[in-house]
C-alpha cells in the first residue's frame, strides 16, 4: 500500500469538504450549534442529578461525567473520520460505487473517508478541554493502557463502519443500520456495567460498544485487569479481520444496479 498516495487522497477530500463547509457558513453554524446543544444538555443533566442521586451501580456522578466525555471522544472520532458512510447509500442506488472500484486506491478507504466532518471539531475540542479539567489524578501506567485501548477502540469503530458498508452493498440499506449502531452506542454514554448481565454481555461482545467506549474509560481508572485487556485486543483483531472478509464477500454480490 502506498501510504503517501492515501494521505494525499485524504487531504484532498478533506480540503474539498472543508471548502464546501466554508462556502455555506450559516448551515455550518446551525449544525455546530445543534451538536453543542445536544452535548450540553446531557452534560447539564448529569450535573443536575448530582445533588439528587448518590451512586449509579457503584459509580458517582463525577465518574459518570468522565465516562460520558470519553464516550464523546470516540463517538466524535468515528463521525469525524468516517462520515462518508452516511453518503454511501446513494452510491449503491445510483451505481456510482463503480467509479470508486476502478480507481487505484482502496474503495473501502474512499467510502469511509469521503467526507471528513470538520463540524465535529468544535465539540471535540470542548470535550478534550473539559476532560483535561475534570480528569482525576491517574497513574502513567493507566494513561498508557488508556492510549493502547484508544487505538483498539478506533480499530473496532473502523470494523463496525466496514460491516455497515458491506451490509449496505448487499441490502442497499445503510442509513438505518448506522443509526441503529448510533442508538445502541448511545447506551455507552454511561458505563455499560450499570446494565443487567445479559444487556452488558450483548453490548460488550455482540455489538462491542462496551469495548469501544467503556473499556478505555475503565482503563483510565485502573478498573481493567490484564486478562480483560488481552481479551479486548484479541477480540478487536478478530472483529476487524471478519469485517474485511465480509466486505470482500459483499463486493461479490454487488450487481452495479442503475449504473
Amino acid at each position: 500500500m502506498n501510504l503517501k498516495r492515501y494521505l494525499i487522497y485524504w487531504l484532498k477530500t478533506s480540503e474539498l469538504t472543508f471548502e464546501s463547509l466554508i462556502a455555506d457558513k450559516l448551515s455550518s453554524i446551525l449544525f455546530i450549534t445543534g451538536k453543542l446543544l445536544r452535548f450540553g444538555f446531557m452534560l447539564g443533566f448529569l450535573f443536575a442529578i448530582k445533588e439528587k442521586i448518590k451512586l449509579v451501580s457503584g459509580y458517582n456522578i463525577d465518574q459518570l461525567v468522565i465516562f460520558f466525555l470519553i464516550y464523546n471522544l470516540f463517538d466524535l472520532a468515528g463521525q469525524l473520520f468516517y462520515r462518508g458512510v452516511y453518503w454511501f447509500r446513494s452510491d449503491i442506488l445510483s451505481g456510482d460505487l463503480d467509479f470508486k472500484l476502478v480507481k487505484p486506491i482502496s474503495p473501502l478507504f474512499q467510502i469511509l473517508t469521503s467526507h471528513t466532518d470538520f463540524l465535529d471539531l468544535p465539540q471535540l475540542f470542548l470535550v478534550i478541554i473539559i476532560l483535561i479539567m475534570r480528569l482525576p489524578h491517574v497513574t502513567w501506567q493507566n494513561v498508557l493502557v488508556f492510549s493502547l485501548l484508544s487505538l483498539i477502540s478506533l480499530l473496532i469503530l473502523t470494523a463496525v463502519h466496514i460491516f455497515v458498508v458491506a451490509l449496505g452493498v448487499i441490502t442497499t440499506e445503510v442509513d438505518h443500520t448506522i443509526w441503529i449502531f448510533r442508538n445502541l452506542s448511545g447506551m455507552a454514554q454511561v458505563p455499560v456495567d450499570i446494565y443487567s448481565e445479559a444487556v452488558r454481555t450483548f453490548l460488550t461482545f455482540v455489538i462491542p460498544i462496551g469495548l469501544i467506549f467503556t473499556f478505555p474509560a475503565k482503563a483510565l481508572y485502573g478498573l481493567l485487569n490484564p486478562a480483560l485487556i488481552f481479551l479486548t485486543i484479541s477480540f478487536a483483531l478478530v472483529f476487524y479481520y471478519l469485517s474485511l472478509k465480509f466486505w470482500y464477500y459483499s463486493l461479490k454480490t454487488y450487481a452495479s444496479a442503475s449504473s
Binding site: 455550518s28 446543544l37 451501580s57 446494565y195
Partner: protein, 266 residues
C-alpha cells in the same frame, strides 16, 4: 375527501413497499426506546426517588414518551423542505389538491402506521420488562391526556412545516441544517428522554414557556397525575395558545415564502 383517503392508502402502500427499510425503522424505534428504558432502569435500581419520581413514575414516563413519539412527533411532512429546495413543490401547486391537506393526510397515515406497529411492540416489551405502570386516576386525566396529545400533534405539524419554510430562503442541503437544529431543540426541550422537572427550577421556568414541553412532557405529566385540575387547565390554555401562534405564523411565513419561491433546480 375521496382523494385524501386515496393518498392515505397510497402512503401505507408506499411505506410497506420498502419493507426492509420499514423494518429497520421499527428496529431503530424499539432500540431507541430500550436504550432510554434500560438507562433509567439502571438509575432507579440504585436510587428510589429522583426529584419526586419513584421507579414506577419514571418508567411509566419512558413508556409514555415512546407512545407520544409515535403519536405526536413521527411525521413524513418534514420532506416538504426538500420539495421546496429542489423545486418539486411546483408539481403540487398545479394539482387540484391542497398542499397542506396532502401532507396532513400523509402524516396521519404515517402516525397510524407507526402506532399500529408500536402497539404490539409495546405490549410485547411490557410483558418482557414487567414495569409497574402508573395509570391515570380520573377520567378527566385520561381524556385530557388524549386531547392534549392530539392537539400537540397538530402543533407539531405546523411547527415542523414552519421549519420547512426555511428552504424558501436557504435551499442549500435541502434546508436540512435548520431542521437539524430544530430536532436537537426538540430532543432537549420536549422532555422525550429526560423529565424536564429534574432540572433546576430556573431552567424549568424556561421549559414551561417553551412550546416544545407541551409536545411530550406535559401530556406525560397529566397521565402521571403530577398536575392538579388548575394546572391541567393551564396546559390546555398554553396548548391552544401555541396552536394558534404556530398556525398563524406558519400561514404568514408560507405566504412570504411562496412569493420568494423560484423553483430552483427545475
Amino acid at each position: 375527501m375521496k382523494k385524501y383517503w386515496l393518498i392515505f392508502r397510497l402512503s401505507w402502500q408506499n411505506a410497506l413497499t420498502y419493507r426492509l427499510n420499514f423494518v429497520m425503522w421499527r428496529v431503530r424505534s424499539i432500540i431507541g426506546f430500550l436504550a432510554s428504558y434500560l438507562f433509567w432502569l439502571a438509575i432507579v435500581n440504585s436510587n428510589q426517588n429522583i426529584a419526586g419520581y419513584n421507579p414506577s413514575l419514571l418508567l411509566t414516563y419512558i413508556f409514555l414518551s415512546g407512545l407520544l413519539r409515535n403519536l405526536v412527533i413521527s411525521n413524513v411532512s418534514y420532506t416538504a423542505c426538500m420539495e421546496i429546495a429542489n423545486g418539486d413543490l411546483s408539481n403540487y401547486l398545479i394539482k387540484p389538491l391542497g398542499y397542506f391537506k396532502y401532507w396532513l393526510t400523509r402524516d396521519l397515515a404515517d402516525k397510524a402506521l407507526n402506532l399500529s406497529f408500536f402497539a404490539p411492540e409495546i405490549i410485547a416489551l411490557y410483558y418482557l420488562l414487567r414495569p409497574a405502570i402508573v395509570l391515570p386516576q380520573t377520567s378527566f386525566q385520561t381524556a385530557s391526556f388524549f386531547i392534549i396529545s392530539l392537539l400537540a400533534a397538530l402543533i407539531y405539524f405546523f411547527l415542523s412545516f414552519l421549519v420547512s419554510t426555511y428552504a424558501f430562503w436557504h435551499p442549500e442541503h435541502n434546508g436540512w441544517p435548520f431542521r437539524f437544529l430544530f430536532i436537537m431543540l426538540l430532543e432537549v426541550l420536549s422532555g422525550s428522554s429526560i423529565p424536564l422537572d429534574i432540572f433546576p427550577q430556573a431552567l424549568m421556568k424556561i421549559f414551561q414557556i417553551s412550546p416544545f414541553s407541551y409536545l411530550i412532557f406535559y401530556p406525560n405529566q397529566i397521565w402521571l397525575g403530577r398536575l392538579d385540575t388548575n394546572q391541567i387547565i393551564n396546559v390546555y390554555l398554553m396548548t391552544f395558545f401555541w396552536l394558534i401562534v404556530f398556525y398563524g405564523l406558519f400561514r404568514f411565513v408560507w405566504q412570504k415564502g411562496i412569493k420568494n419561491y423560484s423553483a430552483y433546480g427545475r
